[in-house]
Symmetry: C2
């Protein structure tokens, strides 16, 4: 049986959510960040990479979000969460599926780094990266103003991937979502999902609700 090692307030939230969406049997082990905000030693010891998410399955320990997602879908079936090549939204689905960790999460990371860097005024490099994060919100808003989900008409794995950076606006990197009605409507849809509610109740019971 799969064990999901969940570090509180981290990307492993998506793996808990995925397991709940698929209705998989799984064991959840929670870890809290230490006083400095990083993963505790017990978490880092699970895999040489040491960053969330990490899952174990028998003797296998696997890290890296995209790898874990592909692994779970391949071993258990995608349960309707993946679009197939014949779907007219296939390319859009793939774009958002990969854009989340390929571009948006790195942009958040860089902006966070600069906010901790001691630079009082963002320099040109910082401004360029901040504009990438602005663009992430703009592109998301544009997409979600025409379709309810990133993959088009129905909920897919792309929504679980994009849900994480978009919901981080309430924790790591506060952002005013009032200019983004499409994103807010999407977050409402996500927050209403029973699987999302179960995942948050199990994984991050102290997290503030998704939307006020």
């Amino acid at each position: 049986m799969l064990t999901v090692h969940h570090l509180g307030n981290s990307q492993s939230e998506r793996i808990v959510w995925l397991c709940e969406e698929l209705g998989l049997p799984y064991e959840l082990v929670r870890y809290d960040r230490d006083a400095t905000g990083v993963a505790p030693a017990a978490y880092k010891a699970l895999h040489p990479l040491g960053t969330a998410p990490i899952v174990t399955d028998g003797k296998l320990a696997l890290a890296e979000t995209g790898a874990i997602v592909d692994y779970i879908l391949a071993k258990n079936g995608a349960g309707g969460l993946a679009l197939t090549p014949d779907d007219s939204e296939f390319a859009n689905y793939l774009f958002w599926l990969h854009y989340a960790n390929g571009s948006m999460v790195p942009a958040i990371m860089v902006v966070l780094m600069f906010s901790y860097s001691g630079l009082t005024e963002p320099n040109d490099v910082a401004k360029s990266m901040m504009s990438r994060l602005d663009k992430a919100y703009e592109l998301s808003e544009k997409r979600l103003s025409t379709v309810p989900y990133f993959g088009g008409s129905r909920f897919t794995m792309a929504d679980i991937m994009m849900g994480y950076p978009l919901t981080r606006s309430r924790t790591f990197l506060p952002r005013d979502l009032s200019p983004y009605p499409g994103i807010r409507a999407f977050l409402k849809r996500i927050g209403d999902r029973q699987a999302f509610k179960r995942a948050m109740a199990k994984g991050d019971p102290d997290m503030p609700p998704l939307l006020a």
Copy 2:
């Protein structure tokens, strides 16, 4: 027919390489970075994201490396470049396939940002990210000291993905590879591939050779 829009010295190098490995018919359009090192306006106009790689296929314009890779493999067949779930190296293959852009490239980006930031002394945040890049080389060396390719005994898509950050040591972020004999042997294997040579000759003919 697929058109690969290749920005010189960029991640779109991997898409040219992938097409050459698969023996696909494709059109290559080259773009040079402008005097400030960024993509020219004509490149940015190809897709709302505006970052390399970008491909077009009829009316479709698609960006984001992972999405383009999945799209090409799904539409054309993986040609042996993807491992299947029954393969004993499946989880390792998935890890490296996603680790490249999920962790290693972002670490390179953050280190580059700091090197341009005007901070003379790396602070704790910068040091933490620099240690992530050190770890990327350590993990790669450990893997490649036991098997010839990231996916194990044979060349796969994971090698194309990891090849990019590892070969950037010769351009964006110089790094002494002498402590890493496994990585150097891997780069030699890559550099000897006819498909890699063709991709570099077409896409980046002025790039220095892969290894001295």
